[in-house]
Symmetry: C2
Subunit: 130 residues, 2 copies
Amino acid sequence: MPMEHKPLLIAEGLKYDGQGLIPAVIQDAENGDVLMLAYMNREAVERTISSGRVTFWSRSRQKYWVKGETSGNIQRVRSIYVDCDQDCLLIKVDQTGAACHEGYRSCFFRQAAGDGDSLEVVATPLSEAY
Amino acid sequence: MPMEHKPLLIAEGLKYDGQGLIPAVIQDAENGDVLMLAYMNREAVERTISSGRVTFWSRSRQKYWVKGETSGNIQRVRSIYVDCDQDCLLIKVDQTGAACHEGYRSCFFRQAAGDGDSLEVVATPLSEAY
């Protein structure tokens, strides 16, 4: 059943790429940590704004993906920012649990080390992978 | 003249899109503000790591773009993180001046307001547009 919402002007003004997508950087509103990056199409942007729950378009599964719908690790929208070129979003969220499906709070849990020769895990998982 | 550097293993392991690009989220190492998002190809990733200066691939100009080369608003690399899927980078930087060519510290200087019907400027520019 389609979600009820009115067309939103900011979703209309954004620049989507050749696949109709725009990247959204998700940031923890509490401590400023960057949690993940994923993609939205126009409808996902509208659903995110209307529902207050971060909703992506899954490129691999070709479907809407309400973050946390199955894992419970939801992202509640605190504020949404648009960049100068209107081709990227920044969304500050209240994150429940781990943002990363590997169980880490942030998807960016590995850091480049040794002059770019290796990756080092720099975080502790909060939970099992999901 | 090509920059001297050895091939870097982490640049090799990344997943680039159909155009050979990977998005890089640039974050202020001091206060955690997300400054901008731009794209790198493999060579730009290697140049960034080798030189310690954030270097993108400009899609519009089809050339390497050492951030701040003309404006002086350079980004010195503090640390580089790779996400779980290895298809996005997070780079913490020491930012000189404004990251945004419109003169704002961050490119994300506009916030969605009024239920997504408008954008509101929520920052003060540091300088003239450049």
